[in-house]
Symmetry: C2
Subunit: 424 residues, 2 copies
């Protein structure tokens, strides 16, 4: 069979793979998928993927972090053009999320493989382990980029207290071998990742693809106001040291803090709060809460941190409370490589896709890989902005458009276009 | 033994009774008292009290609601002067609360008994069942005043799901007999109750006693904002329907609502809130919370209700949320009888006590009895405003002052002063 036009992805094969993986870890009652990292379902998904890679004539492999690879050998083995995402899920997930990026990558390599000539550069599909965070998140990409430490391997536990060590050993994996998964930066020419947007922007604007320019940075804090628990009836308002009212005042300041110190892409969320003693007729004596704030600029994140601390101090002073906060996590913002962004934008234009350049507000494996190699991401629309839920969806048409964009860009990168190591 | 001065309470007997009751239901580890209504400890407390009543030459009795009585017979049996409170406790309670009022009442009757002549009016001590609310609260006083219904007897359960019926039957009590505990209003001349303040006002002002003029009304609502759960990173601020931010905005309006629509004694408390899904990286989709608001005036409570609903609606509209609220409970405000208040104030002045007229912000048995008979209350200072905790305390000196005030007022009432049925 020969074709005269440019090669095209086959949406039926993508469909078949998505639906096949959706059966692995699916709960019949909720229709949600439970393929959390290093669970039996996750390992079954990895085996399924290795088998699929092999079936399609690609070279299968896996590293010490149980990242799964499929290699399409090119004329030069290194640096490689890489494409991927992850197939582990949150509990009760939908069928797309990272899985879509892996399946689309596999389809791209299949198309490139059947187009005949080996590409100039080797192209590698990779499915990273534990992106979703059963044991902390972006585990596979951190191992891959050499950011994993023996300390994390020893200490990581899931919410049920199961150590990462035990979960890996249960599947015959030696945890310490995850440190061997590191690839030298010079062996990676570029990493592309397609992902669902997980937000409402593309869907509301009726666009087909988003070309990610920046992946936002994230600071996650746990905070606490301490006041005085008292009887709700006998304690006059002026005597109260009401910890919850401190939180309400602080939350009320957040829009102002974002307006004054943030940018268009700044976000802040109080997602969790626990009041003590937590009885309807008790003035709250303490409240513990979470704060998640994001921006694609480190200096903006620093400014927000400062403004947040000022607001906390002011509220505490006004209400006679004490406050404390503890950074729980930090993810650095990453810029996508401008040449890759331009390549994707040019391909989208060539394909006549309705696209826009945008920000990723969520963390992704590309953000971790971006610390050592040029990366870029393609977003496809999430219906209603929904994700991490069985209701998560993207139309097959939009998936096809995104996959076609990925194929175009990967084909050009594999042929040696942009980021050529000879033109630093 | 004869005495020339006016009769005085014996603080050593009060101490001994308080300390003896504190041993019944005490947890050795926390030092807290667990004498919840119709528990083994509560029933042991009731037996102890009956025995003490008998030992002191008073006539013991108990009614169908397991209210315990001690009667000092006067020349006329009806209407009676009554004094009391409750000996049941919250879990992990201190040793005073309602117990103090019962013990002080017992001491007053002992002193009156030993003073020789039977009083003109019969005086009765009463310890009401389940004031604290294991099965809903003010159970004994509601039975006593005829406000109990068979429906409540059938449906009441504690937090562990134990039916009131079963708890009563386990101690050989027929639940339906609680309906027989009703006393006709015309048989009650007056009801006096001494209680710890449970707030900081007397302690901070270094006063010895408070004379309660009004017992506050209470409305207790459960409320809910519904928005949309979303990803904290991928959902721009302007797309959010953040239920928790709705609660924060509403809480922030509460001080204004009290200032605009309430009075000096208005109070509002959000004591409990539950966010869903409740993850640090999820925009809250729903929040359920409690609102407890109080004022001694029904029209003010009505105004507050209206203002609260307007604020809820405005916040919901502004943030794209839905809201609902459900009244959970309502306690009507009660005015203490002005003649009783004046009598107490005159006695306090005669005794040279540092006193003030004040409001009760907490609900009490007196509030229930006040719906059918003239009532008044005396408060003694709570150290640091603390109550419902092993840290609850009032100095013996202040207890003695409060008891002496009660004795003076009861003696005058028993002699036929004020509220004489012949002078309506």
């Amino acid at each position: 069979m020969s074709s005269t036009g440019p090669p095209r992805v086959d949406i039926e094969r993508i469909k078949a793979d998505i639906l096949a993986l959706a059966e692995i870890g699916r709960d019949e009652r909720s229709r949600g998928i439970y393929r959390m990292a290093f669970s039996d379902a996750d390992m079954e998904g990895k085996r399924w993927l290795l088998h699929r890679i092999e079936e399609n004539g690609l070279r299968p492999g896996s590293d010490g972090a149980a990242n799964i690879s499929g290699v399409l050998d090119g004329e030069r083995d290194s640096p490689r053009v890489m494409v991927g995402s992850h197939i582990d899920t949150v509990p009760c997930a939908g069928m797309l999320d990272g899985t879509l990026g892996v399946v689309v990558g596999l389809e791209c390599l299949r198309v490139m493989k059947t187009s005949g000539q080996p590409p100039a550069r080797t192209v590698e599909l990779i499915a990273f382990s534990d992106e979703e965070g059963r044991f902390g998140g972006t585990f596979g990409s951190e191992a891959f980029t050499g950011q994993l430490t023996p300390q994390r391997l020893e200490s990581a536990r899931d919410l049920d207290g199961v150590p990462l060590r035990d979960a890996m050993l249960a599947h015959g994996l030696d945890p310490m071998r995850a440190l061997d998964a590191r690839r030298p930066p010079e062996e990676i020419a570029a990493y592309l990742e397609l992902h669902i947007e997980q937000g409402p922007v593309l869907d509301e604007a009726r666009l087909q693809v988003g070309i990610v320019e920046q992946i936002t940075g994230l600071r996650s804090w746990s905070l606490r106001f301490d006041g005085e628990a008292n009887h709700a009836g006998t304690t006059p308002m002026s005597y109260r040291k009401d910890a919850f009212m401190g939180l309400a005042d602080f939350a009320h300041e957040l829009p102002r803090i974002l307006e004054e110190n943030g940018g268009d892409h700044s976000r802040a969320t109080i997602g969790k709060a626990e009041i003590r003693p937590g009885a309807p007729n008790s003035v709250p004596g303490a409240v513990e809460f979470s704060l998640d704030f994001r921006d694609p600029s480190e200096p903006v994140l620093d400014e927000l941190s400062l403004a947040i601390q000022k607001a906390l101090a002011a509220v505490a002073r006004r209400r006679g409370l004490r406050f404390e906060f503890q950074p729980q996590g930090e993810i650095l913002p990453v810029d996508c490589h401008p040449d890759l962004v331009d390549l994707l934008a040019a391909e989208a234009a060539r394909l006549g896709l309705r696209s826009k350049r945008m920000l990723s507000g969520a963390a992704h494996d590309a953000q971790v890989v971006g610390r050592i190699a040029p990366v870029a991401m393609v977003f496809v629309p999430s219906k209603g902005g929904l994700s991490h839920s069985p209701a998560e969806w993207t139309s097959w048409e939009d998936i096809e458009a995104g996959a076609q964009l990925m194929l175009g860009a990967l084909t050009k990168l594999a042929a040696g276009a942009v980021l050529d190591e000879d033109q630093p």
